[in-house]
Symmetry: C2
């Protein structure tokens, strides 16, 4: 047995303990929170090693910032653990039930998924956040973080494992793969005897590689090629505010927009207003011919590649469309199924957009930036699913559960 | 573009139509039912070609029986379509919803999955049954049946496609891959640009091959290594009846049992009773040393391989266990997570078994044969999921849906 297979086997064993651990899970979360605070200095020392290595290796400032921990960020991890502990237990909820004609009582109840694998990149807080959500939902977790954060991840995992043991649960509820070669993540993706699901948390490349290579069920997260469609019946000031917010409040995240579609009958009025707002943040526009006709040569021409790109930057593609159906067709062609918005005062068009667009979240007259577990009231999120199987949109602890049928009889045979 | 890619593209297009087709879906199902009856002779002629080819190729009688259609079986397909039409629409159900503090109204509603691929073997009625369930739940479907049934499948698909068009929906809601080479199923498993989910319906080999090769989300169905545990507090007569039913009422199906575990304190009393019942159907027993001690040399010795095998036949493995925890450990090691049963009159042991066993359906004092969409009141089933993601246990039309968040605002930004 390889190291990772052995970890899988251990996870499957402790998953049986966790499935009936009840309130001990919350005790472990509080224990983790205490331990993270107590061990702040140790975690920061280990994090400093990663930062030094990162600088040496020439990581960008953006990457170094993601990698960096601070007393505040560690407190954030601890606070997160306490908040999750305060949520209701997602397991053991009765979804439905009743008596069949033959007297059998059939009840559908939520149970943990079992063993969850998480593959992620350079942010060490993902180590704590993921472990906390998996633990709360009664799942054993195997973590495989990026090599840039390995010392930080080891420190956080060590602290958490001790804390879990103190609370009376097996340390192996949380395991970290210390081998950060490509081989170790490929092996994790193939661990079908032990893993119930694999969740990649990171950029498009990581997610694609996971979907391509995994032999276990995967939940795809995070890619967001999102649109705002400004309908001919839009309030143009509201449209400009929503577009400004959805593009510039945090361009690097998946619920930020990448393209706007503007109805031709309102384009002359709306586009200059929208551009004026976006100019405040120096957003680069790439537009169709009509857009350039209206806004002038400062707008670069947009290609189909632009419409397909998740910029995650201060860049926005713009297209003037002839009708709402043209907008719906464009979205059907280019959307990644994350978050899509129509700005309109027209009831029929609003309903048409809501019903026709195939995405995790479909908006009327609000910024796509709200697609988020915290904003939607899930307590905390492990990611935003852009697939349709199992979970779609922001995933909280309820989405980390499965279910089973409990059947009680008194001798029934078929 | 290959033939199969073109089919995928068409499916994705018609999926947009189906998503908002409402009552037209039921109209199409009735139209299919009518057309199947009207075209009975044509379908039987094509089926006769498959049967002749099958005899030529030396198929077993069991396989030929699965392949054979009759006026009654065709009527069964038509009746199935009408029954499914009578079910409530699984799409557009509101799962949850409410207003956020910022005034946004967030509603979670069910929507179709989109495009479903079904890979199956020699039973031509799966062609109609699968298409009917997919259509009802608003999904476009691509069918890939076994080569033995290709003429029957083509006939059924042609009849259904015409009927769907007559009802006013695009024929491409249902497409059949006519190429039955291995290559075509491999290509379908990799159709990640178009397929939302792939469901293999068939034996363990097909399911394993699909899980190994698929690049799209798969729902695993059907493998059932199921157990009955006879607790020391069991009513032994009830235990014998349940075991007799669960083993012999239909040994070839996934909810039949393959191993019984008997508590040592009751084994002397229970095993002879159980054997006497099973002898009525000449069930071959393979037992542990203690079993042979009690029942004599007519019982063959059982190996770990026996405990791991889904016999699907008149063979049953038997093990005497020292305690309920021993039974739970055996089940955790060998169960495929399908259906597991305890026979007991003891409350604590019943609850312990229900809470600890990790399976789609867990029973007290009833035959595992009830794990079935029809029995559980789902109307009809597309399969029994043995994975934990998305759906577990019998899957009906509700399990062929996803969901989306509908968000209504009046200018909210974050």
């Amino acid at each position: 047995m390889t190291v990772i297979e052995t970890m899988g086997k251990k996870s499957k064993e402790v998953a049986r303990v966790l499935a009936t651990a009840g309130a001990l899970k919350d005790k472990a979360l509080h224990s983790i929170a205490d331990a993270l605070i107590e061990n702040t200095d140790y975690i920061l020392e280990e994090n400093a090693k990663d930062l030094a290595a990162g600088k040496e290796a020439g990581l960008t400032n953006a990457l170094l910032d993601r990698l960096a921990l601070s007393p505040e960020r560690i407190k954030g991890m601890a606070d997160g653990a306490r908040q999750v502990a305060a949520l209701p237990d997602p397991c053991g909820r009765i979804i439905s039930g009743g008596k069949l004609k033959n007297g059998l009582e059939v009840t559908k109840v939520t149970v943990p998924l079992g063993v969850i694998g998480i593959i992620y990149e350079a942010r060490p807080n993902v180590t704590a956040d993921s472990a906390v959500l998996c633990l709360k939902s009664g799942n054993a977790v195997i973590l495989r973080g990026g090599k840039e954060a390995i010392n930080s991840n080891k420190a956080v995992a060590t602290v958490m494992r001790k804390a879990i043991e103190i609370a009376g649960l097996p340390a192996d509820c949380v395991q970290l793969i210390e081998d950060t070669t490509r081989q170790s993540s490929i092996e994790l993706m193939g661990l079908s005897d032990y893993l119930d699901v694999l969740i990649p948390r990171g950029g498009a490349g990581l997610i694609r590689a996971t979907v391509e290579n995994a032999k276990v069920p995967v939940i795809e997260t995070g890619v967001g090629n999102c649109h705002v469609y400004v309908d001919e019946y839009a309030d143009v000031d509201m449209a400009a505010e929503i577009i400004y917010n959805a593009k510039t409040s945090r361009p690097s995240v998946c619920n930020a927009i990448e393209t706007i579609l503007v109805h031709k009958n309102i384009a002359d009025k709306a586009l200059p207003l929208i551009k004026a707002k976006l100019d405040e943040k120096n957003v680069e526009l790439r537009g169709c011919e009509k857009t350039i006709e209206i806004l002038g040569d400062s707008v670069k021409p947009a290609t189909d590649e632009d419409y397909a790109t998740e910029y995650l930057d201060y860049i926005l593609a713009v297209k003037v469309v002839n009708c709402i159906n043209c907008a719906l067709n464009h979205i059907a062609q280019f959307s990644s199924g994350h978050s899509e918005c129509i700005v309109t005062e027209n009831y029929t068009n609003a309903e048409k957009f809501l019903n026709s667009v195939d995405a995790a979240a479909v908006y009327v007259n609000a910024s796509t930036r709200f697609t988020d577990g915290g904003e939607f009231g899930l307590g905390a999120e492990i990611g935003i699913s852009t697939q349709k199987l199992h979970a779609r949109g922001p995933m909280g602890i309820n989405e980390l559960t499965s279910m089973k049928f409990i059947v009680k009889g008194n001798g029934q045979v078929r």
